[in-house]
Each structure stands twice: as structure tokens, then as C-alpha cells.
Subunit: 396 residues, 2 copies
């Protein structure tokens, strides 16, 4: 059985949600509530974010980076909780495709997350205790609405670009649909206009794994000093398989044994792939909040851009002036190329300007996070062209 | 959260393992131990099985049906535990492709299972209590070795055919490798000569889900009157997704809501696919033993036919006189067509007689269990041809 002794204690996890380290915080008081799709308002609330590079005097070079389900606003540099590198070091930084010597990069932690933006692990001002399941169920549109409030706060009217993969790509699409005039260029990577039945099913298994853990305590684990780390680790292990590909797992692990010559006729991690997965589970629970996992997976399940436009996704992009760069990966079976093609078809039907690339790789869904040269070249080329069209100087 | 109140109580589950209803039982005493790959012997032990049809006077018309991970020997007819139909009603019966008016069908419950053949839920004769984790880890070869002992007991020297899908197909391949002279025809369906890294990974998540349940009690739940039903349900839910396909889930469920007009902004089963999955979890724990799930998934993970033949799977079939019918399904991503092609290549290299069909269907891995007309026609045609070659009369 997986041993999970290293999980951070309850006060630490709660404290990061309220007072995130190495983060900027935008606070929205009672006068600026976040109106949620659920029909209630979140108020007060806060957004934790980081910026990289500098805003130009025309305030026209801002790039919003939207993180995925288990990501956060620590895009590059040392993560204050894990001590590891940021999640998009290959893409963002000086001289990188999203060049911080040219663009002003902003990445907010999404609403519902656990790294400083208000979510279920944050303190509920009404009770002085963690929100838990009293936190309202949020949507991708809610995340984007909150991000728009942050941009208002930063006095950025128009984004040069908004970019993200997976759940980040959903936010990109929602941005283009909700605020078309505020987005000059949009890069939805490995994403979809709606979560598929299979993806909802995988998320539901993850949620059931969390909720099956008695330590989850009906979502009150932070208040009661418990920690549903076993359930969350199982959820992560299952999800992690879906981020990779059969081919990549075969190439990386095959049937190789873990520090042994043969099978042990036991339930130990005989195979490297088992050991690897257990490690993924163990390290995840050390940095992520179980309830946040429920809320963010739910937001992805609920995402269905067409539903807001009489079932026709093209309606979301009607007359769009935003230019789009859509990217998929051949071995991504979570958000397969057919999902990206559906985005492209909707954009074409809406008359939008769109370039599309399907990149051949065995790295699966996670390819958007990895050092995938073709992806990096495509994003660089697309942004260069958009920057010329926008009249941005080559480099500051 | 899934409510699982309907799970059978502990004595009932234990009793089915020792004294299965509606089953024949072959008992092997101390003089006939089952030698296991783990290096120990299982003795005494028993095999629960069922037969359909009649053995001919030449004892040449026996068809061994091998069940999959969560199947059992109740191939057709009412299942004594679930009250539902058998798992292969489409394939086996009077006038069906495996025609019980022509063939004598034998299906044993595998070693390690929980429906009457000795497994972790059976009574350990040394202690008088359920084996639990003291039960030795078993392999596909152990299952087949036990089945060969059953055939000896039944005085059946040669099988006309051995057939099965998934884990059943692994047994078919092992039969052909271990006892080539005892198998006239072999039908490995939706199977593989070795379990892939991705499949091992999915199994490991399922095992971790079971073992994360405190009610599992380190495997001693039967002795302690507990029941790790939540963990087992999560394992089943995750596995069930892998038995289907993205396309089938989309066709069957899409993003349809369950008895509601819109999302509820909660963690209820808003989507039909969630409700369906929860139902799969709930009904499974009512009939299956959690430790058996660990043992049988492990046996599949360990399966690697090539390992016994210096890493060359063709060695398993060298000079084989058995005729093979290999079938795969286009949408099966658990045992994809490439796995079946590898079987075919190995058989070709070994000089065996083999016919191969890849059937176009969106039904995924479970297609071998379903009313798939092309599959049924292929099996019928293959068996008819083999029966002629074997000199079996058309119908009794």
C-alpha cells in the first residue's frame, strides 16, 4: 500500500490558500462580488497571481496564461510549496515562445483552486473556518469572469494573447467567447469546447475515490484536522494515466521491473510503472487540496460552450476578430484531435481567423507541458505574427 | 457519494467461495496439490465449474470456456448470486456459435476467484479462516494448470477447443503454449501475450483504491467482519471505463443529464454517465471479493508469455498443431488490435495455422461479451471448420 506520511499538515494547507507565498494578491471587497453561474455571489474574494516581464506604456503587450486542473500561477521559477520548477518553463521566460522580454505575462490561480485564489480551502469569512463544501460550485466561465475583474484591477483593457492547455484551453475559449474585444489572439492547446462523456466518467471516478476516503469527512477534513490523502492519491494516479499515452508508457516503462530481477509474487510495486504512479499520487497530495480537486474537475465537466449558444458552438465565435492558434497532439486521448477539429470548425463557421496544428508525438495529453519543439515553434511563430499585426515592437 | 448498503454480508460472501450454488465441484486432496509459479503448492483445493451439453462417446467434443477478470463459470442461465443472465449468452447455448447441442462446454471458475474455486475468500484449511492475503499470488499459468487437472479428473485428454476473451484469452494462449497436444483449436479474443504498461497502471490504481479503504483491514476484512466496498466500487468504476470506448460512451450518454433539465451545481450525479458508473460500482461489490480483485489483476499483470521462451513469444507456439482464431475490435483500447497482431505474428513465426479478424465496432473491449454479429459469425464459422477437420458430427 502507498505510504503517504509526507503530506503537509492541515494548518499549512489552509494557510497557503489564504496567504500564498511568492504571490501577488488582488482583493475584491463587498463592493465587487464575483457573480457565479450557480446564481450566487462570492464576496469578498481574492485572486493570487504572478506576473513576468513588464507591461508596456500602451498596456498592449499582456499575455494571460491560464493554468490546467492541477497547475497554478507559479508558471516559472521555484514553486514555493514543492520547491520544484514552474509548470511551463519550456514556454514562458526570456527568449521563450511566450517571451517575457517582449510580453507582460499574467497568470492567476483560478477560483476554486487552493494556491491563494479563493476556493474551498480558503477561510469562509462568514464562519472564520475553511469553506469546504459550502463553497459554491464554480464553472470555467466563473474563472474567466474573475480573471476579467483582475485585468480591470490591473487596468489592462485588451489582452494581446490568452494561452493555456487542457482546462487552461477551456478558459482561453471562454475568454474569446465572453470577451471577444478584449482578446487579440487566443491559443487553446489540447483542449475542447465541451468535456466528453469519457472524461466526465474519469473525473467522477476521481471524485468518488476522494469521497470514499473516510478522512474526507463529508468535505470537512480541514475543520476536523483530517486529510483524505489516500483517496486523493488514488484519484491522481488514475488521472495521471489519462495524461500520458499507451505508447509513452510502453517506451518509458514497458514491463520493466523496479529494482528487482523478477516478479515477487506479492502486491509490491514490482513494475517500474507501478512505482512511478505511486510516486505521482504521493507527491500530489502534498501540494493539492482534495476539495479543490472536486470543484475543478466539476467545472471542467460542466464546460459546454455550445450550451450558451443554443447548442451551436459556432455562435460563441460569431464575427470574432480574435485570431486563434489551435493545437492538438496525435496521442492525446483525453482531448483528442477530433475535439480540436471541432473548435476549428466552429471558428471557421463563425468566420474567425484560425491556424491549426496537430503535432505528431507519443507524449499524450501532457505534451503541451513538455519540451515539444514543434509546439514551441508554432506558438513562437503565431505570437510573432500576431505581435506584428498588433504593432508590438520586436523586443523591448 | 455512492451509497452501498446493498452489499452482501460477510458470511454470504465467504460461503459462496467455499460452497458455491448451482456448481459442480472437483476436489483435489493432499495427494494432488496444485504446484504454483510462486514456488509453493496449493493443497487441498477445489475447482467450481459448470458444464453445458453432453460429452460424446469419443470424448472429443469438449470446449473449455475461460472467463475474464470479473466473470465466473456461470456462462449461461440464471446466476445464483446476481439473479441475472450468464455472461456469454450470445455465444454459448443450443444453436449458438459454441453450440451446446454439438459441443460439451466446460467452464471452471479460475483459481484465485471468489465463486467456488479456491481463492483468498475460501477457507484456509490450516487456520479454518478465510485465506485473505495468506493466499499465494497466482498466475495465468497456475489457472491453466488447475484447469488441466480438472480435465484429467473428467478424463478429457484433448479439448476440441478452448475459447475466451481478455483474461480468458490469456488462458487460451497459455493453454496452447503449455499443452499444445491437448488443444485442437484455440480462440483468444480481445487479448494479448503480455499485459501492457498502461494496463498494469490501471490495475495498480484499482488495487490502490481497494487497499486505501480502511475497511480492507490489510486484507483481513472477512475475518474482521468488515467490507472494503467503497474502495472496490471505485476500482470497478475506473476499470469499467476502460472496457468501453470514448465513442460508445458518447453515443450512449454524451452529456445527457440524469432526470434533470440542467446541472445542479453540486456533486450529485448530474450526468447519466455518472449515474451509470455509480451503478456499475454498486452492483459489482455485491458479487465480487475485494481480495480476489487484487489477485486476479495481479495475475494479468504478471502475464508475459514471451518471458518463458527467452523473450521470444513465437517460441511458445513452435511447431504448434493447434489452429487459432484471433479476434480484436477496432475500439478496444485496453487490448488493441496491435496486441492481437502480435499474437498472429508469433503464431506465424511458430508456423501455426491462424485466422485473424479485426472487427469494426465502437463497443470497446467489452465487445467480445456483446451481441456482435460479426464476432458470432466468425466464431461459428471457425468452429464449424475445425469440427469438420476434427471429424465431429454436425449435430448430435
Amino acid at each position: 500500500m502507498v505510504e503517504l506520511s509526507a503530506a503537509r499538515d492541515v494548518p499549512a494547507r489552509h494557510s497557503e490558500a489564504d496567504s500564498p507565498r511568492d504571490s501577488l494578491i488582488a482583493r475584491f471587497g463587498a463592493d465587487r462580488p464575483l457573480k457565479l453561474d450557480a446564481g450566487v455571489s462570492l464576496s469578498p474574494f481574492q485572486i493570487a497571481y504572478r506576473t513576468y516581464g513588464a507591461l508596456n506604456s500602451e498596456r498592449s503587450n499582456a499575455v494571460l496564461v491560464c493554468h490546467a486542473l492541477t497547475g497554478d500561477h507559479h508558471v516559472v521559477g521555484t514553486h514555493p510549496v514543492t520547491g520544484k520548477s514552474g509548470w511551463w518553463e519550456t514556454m514562458v521566460g526570456p527568449g521563450k515562445p511566450i517571451d517575457t522580454e517582449r510580453y507582460f505575462v499574467i497568470c492567476p490561480n483560478v477560483v476554486g483552486a487552493c494556491m491563494g485564489t479563493t476556493g474551498p480551502a480558503s477561510t469562509n469569512p462568514k464562519t472564520g473556518k475553511p469553506w469546504g463544501l459550502d463553497f459554491p460550485v464554480i464553472t470555467i466561465r466563473d474563472m474567466v469572469r474573475a480573471q476579467a475583474m483582475l485585468l480591470d484591477e490591473l487596468k489592462i483593457e485588451t489582452l494581446f494573447a490568452v494561452a493555456g492547455g487542457s482546462m487552461g484551453g477551456m478558459q482561453v475559449l471562454q475568454w474569446a467567447a465572453s470577451y471577444p474585444r478584449r482578446v487579440f489572439a487566443a491559443l487553446p492547446l489540447a483542449s475542447s469546447t465541451r468535456h466528453s462523456a469519457q472524461n466526465i466518467a474519469f473525473h467522477e471516478v476521481g471524485r468518488q475515490a476522494v469521497m470514499a476516503d473516510p478522512e474526507w469527512r463529508q468535505g470537512r477534513y480541514l475543520v476536523e484536522g483530517a486529510n483524505p490523502k489516500r483517496g486523493l492519491a488514488v484519484a491522481r494516479m488514475g488521472a495521471h494515466i489519462t495524461y500520458l499515452s499507451d505508447a509513452a508508457l510502453h517506451r518509458k516503462f514497458g514491463r520493466k521491473f523496479q529494482d528487482r530481477e523478477n516478479v515477487t509474487f506479492s502486491f509490491d510495486a514490482d513494475f517500474e510503472v507501478e512505482s512511478y504512479l505511486r510516486h505521482q499520487g504521493i507527491t500530489f497530495v502534498d501540494r493539492f487540496d482534495a476539495n479543490s480537486y472536486l470543484y475543478l474537475t466539476r467545472a471542467m465537466d460542466y464546460f459546454d460552450l455550445a450550451a450558451d449558444y443554443d447548442g451551436v458552438v459556432a455562435g460563441a465565435f460569431k464575427g470574432a476578430e480574435t485570431r486563434f492558434c489551435v493545437v492538438s497532439f496525435t496521442s492525446d486521448w483525453l482531448f483528442p484531435t477530433s475535439d480540436s477539429r471541432a473548435i476549428v470548425h466552429a471558428l471557421n463557421a463563425g468566420g474567425a481567423r484560425v491556424s491549426f496544428a496537430e503535432i505528431v508525438t507519443d507524449k499524450g495529453h501532457d505534451a503541451f507541458l513538455l519540451d515539444e519543439p514543434e509546439l514551441l515553434a508554432i506558438v513562437r511563430g503565431f505570437l510573432d505574427g500576431a505581435a506584428r499585426a498588433r504593432g508590438l515592437s520586436a523586443r523591448r
